[in-house]
Amino acid sequence: MSEVLLRLVRHGQEQGCRPHQRHLLDRGQWAALIAAIGEDEGVALLGLWADPAQVHAALMAGEAILIASCAVPEGRYAALSPARPGAVRFERMIRDLWGHVAEGGLDQRPWLDHGRWPLTGPLAARPAPHAMPPPQPVFLPVEGEGIHQIPVGPVHAGVIEPGHFRFHVQGEAVVRLEARLGYLHKGHIGLMLGKSAQVAARFAARLSGDSTVAHGWAFAQAVEAALGLEPPPRALALRALMAELERLHNHLNDWGAICNDAGFAWLHARAGALREAVLRAAAIAFGHRLMMDRVMPGGVTDDLMPAGAAAIGAALDAVAAELPRLGAVCDSHASLADRMVGTGVIAPSLVHAFAAGGVTGRASGRGFDARHRPGYPPYVPTEPAVLEAGDVDARARLRMTEMEGSVRLARGLIEALPPGELTLPLPQRGGEGLGLVEGFRGECLHWVALDEGGLVRAVFPRDPSWLLWPLLEAAIEGNILADFPLINKSINASYSGVDL
């Protein structure tokens, strides 16, 4: 089936994107593509974005990743959301930022634009000034007896990012949750346009601070692909080392927080101590606890500091020694299992329909890991661990497994660090590239087009959370309201990452 779709896209004009080609389709071909996607469940919509003249859809069919584009001469294009519900938020975002309307789209409400910017369509060819008072948000209705609404946020009770959750509750059970995000919209894309790749990289590194290495790497990968550049092996190994430390500290954080939300503070405290050890080792090795701005297009900015290898080694030893014991304590407490097993189940069919990556996808049977497929150096492709249950417990368990994997990978990278250069100078020329790097919550996808002077002409950073947020709404359905923090934590989608 995927063959039909691939042939359809490849009819379009090649636009020179590397390593995954982008094809420009005419309106008829675009409509045929949407029909084909609707027929073929095996096609994953990885992302949908725009520039002032076109919309772009990143698709994965079997082993192939490609981008299909369509011109929007009158500011209109045929919507993908009837074929893939995951397209809904992308279409709303495209309308808010570029002003292009998705004809036949399932949801035409605004998303990022809360009516508080001084202009509308800020990234459109001609943004319009805006001075109206902000409108009241409209939420999807719920019908039934005894249903009441609970509004939560944007300011939450804990130290977390802002977002509004509208719960419709019947008794204790959640009938519907709808998230309203966009509070963190900073105008990332607008700020990256017209900048050199090195300057734009600082924005990519701050799309979602917890994934700064993964996003920095995915952006760098896109720039390097656009320029036909192979970063030196030592740079790639150091990037992977940082990426695995990042995965480790975030998984420790999430695993501990899941146990904490299930009422077991001790595991949270221990996981927190281990995470702090990893962050301190990162600071010794790379001069920054979160390793921000260390990945740059062309390579990495700094070598491993002299004391770095030993510091990371010690932190990894501590984690490796304690993780199995923490896992055993967790497993031996029925009260924890009672909260986690069977809670917040996400059906495999939904995970596939929304192309959810990371732990969330893999815990519901979608075995996608960008390190494995399409794969990128220095990783040796390895089949990722997959579970089927799709509940909080499965997501917590996979985090444990992946932490062990990260410890193993990081140790291996330190032992066999290749010698040589850290970075290559960027040639000043144009090009277009796509980068795909596996972060701790899923694959980070960055697309960039550089003009002849090497400045960013168009860009889109897609955090994995775009594909996870809709599933949170499905996961909570029918669960009790009190389990929401636990379920939310087990997915841990980024707010800043999708608010752009």
Binding site: P122, V159, P162, K186, G272
Partner: protein
């Protein structure tokens, strides 16, 4: 028969309603003693209860890097609660608003409402380079360019993100400043 009537309780109680009270008038304490005790109580409260700050954190547009480091203050290594510092769920319980991010236009109203709910006197702390002046997001159509654009700020803690040690230092400075010693 008549003697029996005299032994009943209720006529005596009824009489008490119209007769003067048996209780003495209260003594008036010497003014100097009151003043001295009040001074001692204030000192004791300051020493015993004053070394405590309730913190309400508000993310007004951060990339979540600052939140990671603010949360890290709560781990067992930094353990901010040993200093009498703790995070509270409601701004109504807070002494400190710890604000991060360049202040997005979409968060301005939520931040102002949170600040209105926080009782005076309160401290406002801007944590992170973005909160200080907008950081790298300065000039975007979507941000105001720092917390000061909406609220008077008492303390700036720069850094991208500031480390837990730097954040803790700032919080302890507030404790010292309020005179807890």
């Amino acid at each position: 028969m008549r003697e029996g009537w005299r032994r009943l309780l209720w006529p005596r109680l009824a009489r008490a309603l119209v007769s003067p009270p048996l209780t003495d008038a209260p003594p008036v304490p010497p003014e100097e003693l009151v003043q001295a005790l009040m001074a001692r109580l204030e000192a004791a409260a300051q020493a015993r209860l004053g070394r405590s700050l309730a913190i309400r954190q508000v993310d007004a547009g951060s990339c979540n890097g600052c939140e990671l480091e603010i949360s890290a203050m709560q781990n067992v290594v930094y353990d901010l609660e040993r200093f009498g510092l703790r995070f509270v769920a409601s701004p109504r319980h807070a002494d400190v608003l710890l604000v991060t991010g360049p202040l997005t236009r979409n968060m301005r109203e939520a931040l102002l409402r949170t600040a209105e709910c926080t009782p005076e006197p309160k401290w406002v702390v801007a944590a992170g380079d973005c909160a200080v002046d907008g950081g790298i997001f300065k000039g975007s159509y979507a941000v105001e360019g720092g917390i000061e654009a909406a609220l008077p700020v008492d303390l700036l803690i720069p850094g991208c993100p500031p480390t837990p040690a730097q954040l803790l230092e700032g919080m302890l400075a507030l404790l010292e400043a309020q005179g807890g010693g």
